[in-house]
Symmetry: none
Subunit: 411 residues, 2 copies
């Protein structure tokens, strides 16, 4: 079968955002064995969209159109698809009521144009994260699907509505096997060199690596739909065994903070932190996990040396004698915050986020400290590339902090 | 003039990487007044690429093809473009010698297929960051440009070679005028309805909106290169005046935290915060700005009610009588942290990040408190959409907190 994505949006053609929706759709539909042959991006232009849809439905079994379903005048996608497919716009009174309720709740004045988000073609596709309905239109020889552009809305609709329906509709029997494995602390090139002999023994699978902001992801995918799931599991197990010290976890939606919160909860432990270069990002990452309140009461951002002393009692001497960017300061921060909050695990983050050097240490120099009830305090130095951005350095410091807790709690 | 980008690569259609090259090209060429009308992504497929090129050169003045210029068998772009344009592959002996030298230096064995990276069509385009030559081909009525896929190579070639040559070739006199204006606190549809009469008076400009995670961006762009910069300024000033209470700032790289840090520094003020639902994200956002240490010593994450009392002295009574999610608690948090850190500005964040409701308040209910030296404490309630994700709600709470400080400091 042949499938095409049509991405609509002037902001895409102005280069203001990258087309992450197209990547997401390609990735997710690939899992049900449906490959996209072409992605076409066009602007919010009624004629351009309708002509494109008209042309593409002739050559494709699936035409998936995204973006341009907002309530404003430049959102013309649905009208354009209606013209291109010769079909009629319909309005869901149920959705219109829902939009009215939402506006009432938020105490915002409703305008007539808001009703446009209750329109659809063919059958409506529910949108749990937003107001604009999606559309599923059987159009003689092809299916045309229209989805809104905001990623949080689109992704949920792909996962909950579109993927399952496409699987049924096109009788997609078997999908490719795919698994994502996440690692931290070993450079990509060394990781792949280590793994070359392992991969060589499993020619039915492709093994590729991607550098992500907070880990290196190894993606294992079967080359066709005849691959054996047990062989896949065996290959993944061998990869994990080979790189055990760096392994974080597996899965497309893997999140290290979620794993750490779960481990803490299982052990009935609570965590706190004193953060300097990360400025609260570690605690914010812990709080991004629903149910974080089970394992986290609160903590400290101790950016200035004075705050380190005042809030968590880091002795001035420790900082004076060793410097702010030191194992001793990181350890004293970890111990100080843990003592103050009276919990089982305390972390200290200190280092140079950049762009400038500090105390003679280049940007990317980070010390982590971990204090645990009944254990000696640990410290760890990171030497992150100094050409990394301030954000990258801070984000990686947080991730290494999570890894430190993860490794300790697993033992 | 009409221009199209053809992006080549199976990895794009598998969704393994996003098409950041297309965004970069759109962004950079827009600066010289050249707009892209369409981006088409196809796989490493000889027939698909050559047919696409053949079709697109008929309707476009510029066809820019990227990716698939590597030395391996699946890199077929140059052969495909040659077929699609009916032109002959040539080999640069100079580049071939260069490739041989590089391989000798790196002590890697040279293969015959490496010679393919010295091939080009029309005229070669130098590649300072890689081995594959680019191509510039005058093809009767259109120009066809072929560039390699690795971003570091492509970006340098666009900036150093392609942009300047296109400017000459198409006699691009003047670039389009463009400005981004950022707003927060008024829904997109109301904003655009408000602005309709203003925009009506400036028909030479297009005014579009899009919803970003932390603001609504209004983009003003001249419709052609004949627009008057003074008219542009006048239009922007009118838009800002109309929506003053919601206006945050302007520019493509605008960042509200940077503005707030600058304002605080100008006034010699320091800031702190006590964060509940945001869990440290506000302070982390302040610390994302280089030089934040001028205005921020540290602060508190007070997730549990016990931490609110213990760390910043929020009276138990206040929480008991009014609830955690209340104006009174937000105010007491703001006052408590400001007193504790002894600084000029203190913020309190409390609310429901979701997914579950809290104390009968739906997710998205947020109270902000702001305590300032010499001013009465202010509070503000947000009613963010309850279908927003936990992250969206927390991120918006931070942004509204920044806006609260920004508005106060501007007066």
């Amino acid at each position: 079968m042949r499938s095409v994505i049509i991405s609509v949006g002037d902001e895409l053609l102005r280069g203001e955002i990258t087309n992450s929706n197209a990547s997401y759709i390609c990735q997710q539909l690939r899992k049900i064995g449906l490959n996209i042959q072409k992605v076409i991006t066009v602007g919010d232009d009624l004629t351009a969209i309708s002509e494109l849809v008209k042309a593409e439905i002739k050559n494709n079994d699936l035409v998936l159109v995204t973006g341009g379903l907002g309530p404003t005048a430049d959102d013309v996608t649905l009208t354009a698809v209606a013209a291109g497919t010769n079909s009629r716009l319909q309005t869901s009174m149920e959705q219109w009521k829902h939009i009215q309720t939402i506006f009432q709740q938020r105490q915002i004045q409703l305008r007539p144009e808001n009703k446009r988000q209750a329109q659809y073609l063919g059958q409506p596709v529910p949108n749990t994260n937003g107001l604009a309905l999606g559309s599923w239109l059987d159009n003689q020889h092809s299916v045309v699907i229209v989805l809104p552009g905001p990623p949080v809305e689109l992704q949920a609709m792909i996962d909950l509505e579109v993927s399952p329906r496409l699987k049924d509709y096109f009788h997609l029997q078997q999908s490719l096997l795919a698994q994502s494995l996440h690692f931290l602390g070993r450079p990509e090139s060394l990781l792949m060199t280590d793994l070359a002999p392992v991969c060589h023994d499993f020619p039915q699978f492709s093994v590729t690596s991607y550098v992500k902001p907070t880990d290196i992801t190894i993606r294992v995918v079967s080359k066709d739909e005849h691959a054996n799931p047990q062989m896949m599991d065996k290959l993944c197990a061998q990869i994990i065994a080979k790189e055990q010290p760096y392994y974080l976890g597996s899965g497309d939606h893997f999140d290290l903070a979620t794993t750490v919160v779960k481990l803490l909860k299982q052990r009935g432990n609570k965590i706190t932190a004193a953060e300097s270069l990360t400025g609260g990002m570690f605690q914010s990452t812990i709080c991004s996990v629903p149910g974080a309140s089970n394992v986290f009461d609160g903590g400290f951002v101790t950016y200035a040396a004075s705050a380190k002393e005042k809030l968590i009692g880091v002795p001035v001497d420790v900082v004076d004698q060793n410097g702010v960017v030191s194992a001793q300061t990181a350890a004293a921060m970890a111990e100080g915050c843990r003592r103050k909050m009276n919990v089982e695990v305390g972390l200290g983050f200190t280092g140079v986020a950049g762009p400038d050097a500090l105390e003679g240490h280049p940007a990317g120099t980070v010390w982590l400290g971990m204090s645990r009830a009944g254990h000696p305090t640990q410290t760890k130095q990171l030497r992150l590339p100094s050409n990394y951005s301030r954000q990258q350095i801070r984000q990686l410091a947080v991730q290494y902090g999570l890894q430190m807790v993860y490794t300790a709690l697993q033992k």
